[in-house]
Subunit: 258 residues, 2 copies
Amino acid sequence: MLRLRSTIDCTTPGDSASESCIGCQISICSHLDAAGLDRLRAMSWTIKFAKNKMLFEQGEVLDRVCIISVGVVKLVHLLPDGQKQITGFLGPGDILGGIKRQENAHGSAKALTAVEACAFNRENFLQLIKDYPDLCLNLLTAATDEIEALTDHIVLLGRKRAPQRLAAFLLMMSQRWNADTDTANNNGTMVHLPMPRADIADHLGLTIETVSRTFGLFRSSKFISIPRPNDIVLSNLAALYDLAGFDEIPTRHVALGL
Amino acid sequence: MLRLRSTIDCTTPGDSASESCIGCQISICSHLDAAGLDRLRAMSWTIKFAKNKMLFEQGEVLDRVCIISVGVVKLVHLLPDGQKQITGFLGPGDILGGIKRQENAHGSAKALTAVEACAFNRENFLQLIKDYPDLCLNLLTAATDEIEALTDHIVLLGRKRAPQRLAAFLLMMSQRWNADTDTANNNGTMVHLPMPRADIADHLGLTIETVSRTFGLFRSSKFISIPRPNDIVLSNLAALYDLAGFDEIPTRHVALGL
DNA sequence: CGTGATTTTGACGACACTCAAATAAAGTGG
DNA sequence: CCACTTTATTTGAGTGTCGTCAAAATCACG
């Protein structure tokens, strides 16, 4: 099961949501000539999922590849005893699907919000890749990035405690999909969390209660404030970065040039 | 940092160790025509590392790609507070290196045993990939496999207890590099562990003591026996598979047709 | 405003970590 | 080949973080 997070901003100004999967400059669409873009347009179609609908189930045959244009998807792995582990969240620009022959989904994918995606037939997708080596190399680079991200998460789960895990999670969330809602007011940076506490717990290898308690710890430590459960204001970024174990606060690279 | 584990057996009978990086049928060498093999031979060279030598350090510039032909390498991630997490072990046929421009190593790589590898200059490697789309697609497929393997490890670290983790580790080890030492005698399957307990602990997100205690638990439960600390006999595979959370015992696919 | 889901808070227990020491194994030099 | 040193592994006792069970408070939605 291929799962890649794009490093390039997908939401190009002027594109409507329904067309954003074609016209935008995400990883796969860039580096294509006019003929390639025409082929892309001809072979792709748009799929939509309501909130909480399954994109696919664990074990299901995966013969399509899709690029998310709107919304957030969670990747869930079920254990025989009923436990869950969420191995990642995907958003606009991220790629998900099967590229191997007769591939079965390694995990389930569920829409956290309303989701729109640009879909391709696997065979068409593979042929396009073969015809555009640069595109294939881009995908390989993106796969390398995903491998590094998963590696970081392994370090998080293997060697970090609850506060460190949550701090890293909040900072990750603030950097990925909150470019516009990241309105820096005098109190801090606002982050919207599209997932409930249970999903955060299943992502960080904790329980709902521990996640909630750690949120409470951060609030009483004045690191954050919680106007609503899913809206977190990061009021002490330095403390959070320190907890997360990052060496420094990276300079933001936002589309609008902040 | 690219890191791929090969799914194809590397040790082709008849190849000497020093030539195995060229002559073998590992993922990258297969699907190449005669001209491609010549190019591969011309651009590659052999590097050797003694036991416990670093292949590269975290943060170091990575402008080479290598394919391990002999030995085992551990991938280590250091945390600011001195803790370690081993994100994987690589062996014969596995690929490691940098393919991005001005890439810095995301983690360190250290030789667990004496190691030989087949090395490529990054630019040459990338050009070869561009000229052979099938090869690039193969790498993308291998990257997908690596992503799935890392995902499985995330599930292990996030939702499994010490016994389950160690059981999964032992079974994984018995399947990857023990095709010949897997002599099934009447007592069980022999597995040789090339790494010390500390590395197992750092891989499974545990401490040395917990790993040792869990080995002791398995021994007193008659799941395993330990003739020497690094040689484990799996005497109750069914129990280990059950612990690890695998649904069934997979049929072995060994080179010799077992 | 009322119902159901989500989140928070509390009390208690268990699994794994820390600290400490003993035992076993591996390497070294005579 | 054997004493010696060094490293690795095992075992023990006590502590702490996080999980489990339970209930209250808050939020979302019709």
